[in-house]
Amino acid sequence: MTVIICDANFSFTLSVAKAFEGQGISCVQVGTGKECQLKIFQGKFDALIIDINTQSHSAVEVIKYVKAHKLKTRIIVTLEKAGQLEAMDLNVETLKRLGVYNMVTKPIDPEQLVKLVLTKIGFDSDQTVYANEEEIVANADEMCLLETPEIVIENIAILDYYVHTTGYIYHRVIKRGEKAAGQIDQKIFYKAKDRTLFIQFMNKIVGKMTPDEEIKPEDKFINLKSLADTYITESYTNGLNPKLVEEGKKLCQNMFALLDKEKRLKELMKMYQEKTPHHFAELFLVSFFSTIIAKSLDWNSQRTTEMVALGGLLHDIGLYRLNPEITRKLRADMTIEEEEIFKTHPLESVKILREMTQIAEPVAQIVYQHHETINGEGFPNQLSSVRIYPLAKIVSVADAFTSLLIQSQKPPIEALKMFVQNRQNIERYDANLIKSLITGFVKESK
């Protein structure tokens, strides 16, 4: 086997060459694209490792040369830092089409490079032959971070779980069907394509945790929140499917059950410390507070509470069909035209939900009307108090309160006081619902 490495940094090429020679593999070192192309023309190489910054015949020129001559040379590209490809107007897909087998970001242990070449680990895991099954290559967006690893450690694994070793390489630490051998100090990941299966697993776990008196309320809340965040990520990035809709309903049932069991909201939210949560975390809170309000109403039922919980989770799903340059802005910073586009998101959301026949009409109506306000100044239809769907009014209050909670970065009770004392909120939102929200926070009387 023969390898060629092209990099202007000679100490790097020397260290890599030594690593290959340690495995009995000869390694040619060159510093420019022109030298590299000449060597490839003159001889056969099983693998080419080339730095993306290669000059004097660029790396892309050399790669195109290999492809054009249909050479059986496996190509690995090295980068100085993440984001370098985008800065050069390149992307992973372009490189794959040119025949690049893999990509790593420095610093990299030369032994790892040797491993990549020997084990033939490439981008597309379906086509590769693994020297051992324990390693995969994945982009960061193909892997999900496990937020509650303790749950995974305690139970038999329903998925393969990995730790990130270097570059695009992830090493499996728990095999599906087995239990963890011991503590794992690193962050644990699973494949994003297994997210729905993971949600199904967590729904069962959270369902079992809720009636367990041994588990602290705040731990139950954290696990529910982690489940909801995962659910929202899957729904909002990959879209809804029938299986996911059913898991959403179970999640809402779990939320209802948790709040039924643990009435001391302040205890539940003890661990809530997020200062700048991402938008998906906000969506969980909208659902959570919607559930709180619904459960405090005298006309509460499990059906209506689960409807508002699901409506809360999905209420902004249409936002992701709009131009992100608009949706990332605060409303106060939008132009008139941008705001008109923003106001179409309830209808966009309904169009998405209509594709799923399992989504009940009340949920679609909640999503459609959650920006209506009782003074008739909301959107999309400027409905006034008696005309607004009662369940939508609940999510409307929860959404407004969540926004204040996030933006003010105050603890929940302080944010609640701010929300309640704002006179504009009397004009916009049903007073009975605001009272229900406060009631949800009040300690249960003995």
């Binding site: 309904v350 009409e361 109506q365 009307q369 239809n381 769907y389 009770i413 009397i426 926070f441």
Partner: protein, 148 residues
């Protein structure tokens, strides 16, 4: 205690019969109408506290009925039910203040919706809006509990 009077509107006679039988214990009287025009006649003659209405009917659909009622300043709780394929009508209905929505054919939760609707319809006639000051005062009383 009075439960209130219910109006069921649907062009399927068998469904109306079934619903009436299932909901007998939830209302004082149950009236039936086979389309929107009949429904308006009943509403003009009887004291109705909640309407359960199919959205898609011949002669006059559910949206046209609720629209007419709202023009007459009648805010009786209106519950729509529908099978799939009436999405545009449902969104249109929402503009006139639908109280709730049910999916055909299961009509899951209809009993609970009827109870709630009748209760709302029976107390709807007199709504005394509290002043802002009264509302703030109630909020403050509730908030005080949080400081304990």
């Amino acid at each position: 205690m009075k439960k209130g009077n219910l109006l069921l509107v649907d062009d399927e006679a068998l469904l109306l019969k079934r619903l009436k039988a299932n909901l007998e214990d939830y209302a004082d009287s149950i009236f039936l109408a086979s389309d929107g025009i009949e429904a308006l006649e009943v509403l003009s003659k009887e004291s109705i506290h909640c309407v359960i209405c199919d959205i898609n009917m011949p002669r006059m659909n559910g949206v046209e009925v609720i629209k007419k009622l709202r023009e007459q300043a009648n805010n009786v709780p209106f519950v729509f039910y529908t099978g799939h394929g009436n999405n545009e009508l449902m969104l249109e209905a929402a503009k006139y203040g639908a109280f709730d929505f049910l999916n055909k054919p299961s009509l899951d939760g209809i009993e609970e919706v009827v109870e709630r609707g009748l209760k709302m319809g029976s107390t709807n006639s007199i709504i005394n809006a509290d002043s802002d000051a009264e509302i703030m005062s109630e909020y403050q009383k509730l908030l005080k509990s949080l400081d304990v």
